[in-house]
């Protein structure tokens, strides 16, 4: 069997095909008496052009599922295809390269590098991809105005509000034009008003016909922004609701 490529030839991907396809995904941690089963046979399709919300109570396995479909954790059993690639079967190096090229991340705590300015933080994924610092920062400077931070390009994270930091994180997640965006509780550290603004912004700049967005959240104030809402309980998808 020919191993799957680490990076994708984007022209060959059918936009109608699911960006993410999970079948019977099981994830266990530990073993013996300490065995914890976080995912118990998850089946999920995430289509392109939609914002999919993964919701459910704390401890139901949302973040574990997000880590699995982002190629950060390998499933114990089951199949996970991301952008048509069987990611768990990729070697360590190819998996890292696949993530770097095809997936954008937005974290709950932003995880910006405190010593870098907003523009430099946004440029990080390009630098990881081998783009020179000057070119990467130049591209970041064109992206920051789109997330409403034209005047904060040279500010350090400590000089930015929570909402502004999350905007920087969104720009960082999009700068290398990934086809799959994963967001972990992007509004959890924000008040209601800023949370709404962030989701509106994501809808505006992140959702496109060739990109899939998955957001893990338990913030029911933002459920209305999702095109598709997958509800999890006890390690399983119990309901998928689509607005389209």
């Amino acid at each position: 069997m020919t191993p799957a490529p680490a990076t994708l030839d984007r022209t060959k991907i059918d936009a109608a095909q699911a960006a993410v396809s999970c079948r019977g995904v099981v994830k266990e941690f530990g073993g013996g008496h300490t065995l914890v089963t976080a995912l118990r046979g998850v089946d999920l399709d995430v289509p392109f052009g939609e914002m999919t919300l993964l919701v459910g109570p704390s401890g139901c396995g949302k973040t574990t599922l997000l880590s699995v479909i982002a190629g950060i954790l390998d499933p114990t059993r089951g199949e996970v295809h991301v952008l048509g690639v069987d990611v768990p079967r990729l070697s360590g190096g190819r998996k890292v390269a696949f993530r770097g090229k095809n997936i954008g991340f937005v974290f709950q705590q932003y995880n910006l590098l405190p010593a870098l300015t907003a523009a430099e933080n946004v440029a990080v994924p390009l630098m990881i991809g081998g783009v020179s610092r000057n070119a990467a920062v130049a591209k970041a400077l064109t992206l920051l105005p789109k997330v409403g931070l034209a005047n904060r390009m040279n500010s350090l994270p400590s000089q930015l509000s929570g909402g502004e930091q999350q905007r920087v994180a969104i720009a960082r997640a999009l700068i290398h034009e990934p086809r799959f965006l994963v967001c972990d509780e992007p509004t959890a550290a924000l008040d209601a008003e800023n949370g709404h603004k962030i989701l509106e912004l994501m809808h505006e700049v992140a959702v496109s016909p060739t990109r899939a967005v998955v957001i893990v959240t338990h913030d029911n104030r933002i459920f209305s922004f999702g095109d598709r809402i997958a509800t999890m309980e006890d390690g399983r998808i119990v309901n998928v609701e689509s607005k389209k």
């Binding site: 770097g100 974290f107 709950q108 995880n111 590098l113 010593a115 870098l116 972990d184």
Partner: protein
């Protein structure tokens, strides 16, 4: 990524300075103590260094170092002169004498007796008086430091008098000389006079100073002398090293300095390692985020090693600079022995490399085992 590593490092100024200062302190201690040790070892050879004009020292086979005097007979001098590779050879006396000053005080001095005809081994730089005055009756030349030891707080004056072995001696000159290991004043006299100041013995000649024939390497001449006379003949450098090795092997000096250097190394490694580890732990989520975003483990390790190397180089430069400044300041202002040869820089650099490597090991392990999933917690 190197740039990001650098920004991460200097972004946390407290920890950055802590690591740099830890390494700088260790470098300072290693280089400074090493240089003092070298200076001290060099002091043991000061009289060998100060004897100019003769490349070869001939001595009894059992001599272990410059102060281990085993007198030679007059015959030995003639036997050395009889070696075909030798151009000339002269007597040289070295011993301790007790000087009785006009005020009744006694002071131990190092007596050096120079060949009456040639004055081979004489000081090369006079502060007062002339070398030729040594041919006068009872004439002595004393080194500048020794003069101030014998007559503290007195200006340098020719004509000062003291007694040794109940014989009068007159200071006819003051010269520059390297400081000695024993810190005693150095007194120069003609050989014939020096042996009168010294306690009476059957044989009094300490060394034979010799020079190989033009074009004959000193090492070759030494071998020829040893082979033909059975005496030990060494070049100046060989005798210096023999003396240094004696002190290295038979005194606690290297151990004492070694302990201090080792403590500096351990303390430096502990401070730098602990602070560097804390720095890594503090940034572990950032490293996790970089891994999640596609940075491979080798690149992460490269970032950590770069950070370690950077603080190592800066700490090393600061430490060496501080040690050199210390040496420059104390050399003129105190009696501290300080000599920093090039290999001290190399040894200190090697120690710093080991230090930062050990310091970064824990951090590297930490960033390697961190799961990118940490960013979702």
């Amino acid at each position: 990524m190197i740039w990001i590593a650098w920004k991460m490092l200097i972004g946390n100024r407290g920890k950055y300075l802590g690591i740099v200062l830890g390494i700088a302190f260790a470098s300072l201690l290693i280089a400074q103590q090493g240089s003092i040790f070298c200076g001290l070892m060099l002091l043991t050879t000061s009289q060998i260094q100060d004897v100019k004009g003769a490349d070869i020292w001939v001595m009894d086979r059992n001599v272990q170092f410059i102060d281990d005097i085993k007198p030679l007979s007059e015959d030995d001098l003639y036997r050395v002169r009889g070696v075909s590779a030798v151009d000339w050879a002269v007597r040289f006396y070295k011993g301790l004498a007790r000087a009785r000053l006009e005020n009744g005080n006694f002071q131990q001095v190092i007596m050096l007796g120079l060949d009456d005809g040639t004055l081979v081994g004489a000081p090369t730089e006079m502060v007062a008086g002339k070398l030729e005055d040594l041919f006068q009756p009872d004439a002595l030349i004393v080194d500048e430091n020794g003069y101030h030891q014998l007559w503290p707080q007195q200006p340098i004056k020719i004509g000062q008098v003291f007694e040794m072995n109940d014989r009068r001696g007159v200071i006819v000159g003051v010269c520059k000389a390297s400081r000695t290991f024993q810190t005693f004043p150095i007194v120069y006299a003609r050989y014939s006079l020096a042996t009168l100041y010294a306690p009476m013995e059957r044989k009094v000649m300490s060394f034979v100073l010799a020079q190989g024939k033009p074009g004959v390497p000193a090492e070759f001449a030494c071998q020829a002398i040893t082979k033909q006379t059975g005496l030990l003949a060494l070049t100046r450098e060989q005798f210096m090293w023999k003396t240094i090795m004696y002190y290295m092997n038979n005194t606690g000096i290297p151990v004492n300095f070694g302990i201090t250097v080792m403590l500096g190394f351990i303390v430096g490694t502990a401070i730098a390692g602990q602070t560097f580890y804390l720095f890594t732990v503090e940034n572990i989520k950032q490293f996790g985020a970089l891994k999640a975003m596609g940075t491979s483990n080798p690149r992460i390790v490269g970032m950590v090693l770069f950070q370690a190397l950077q603080v190592g180089v800066i700490g090393y430069c600061l430490g060496i600079g501080a040690a050199a400044t210390f040496g420059a300041m104390t050399k003129s202002a105190s009696k501290l022995a300080f000599y920093m040869p090039w290999w001290i820089l190399l040894v200190t650099g090697g120690a710093v490399l080991v230090m930062i490597f050990l310091s970064s090991l824990l951090s590297i392990r930490k960033v390697l085992v961190v799961e990118p999933a940490i960013v979702f917690k």
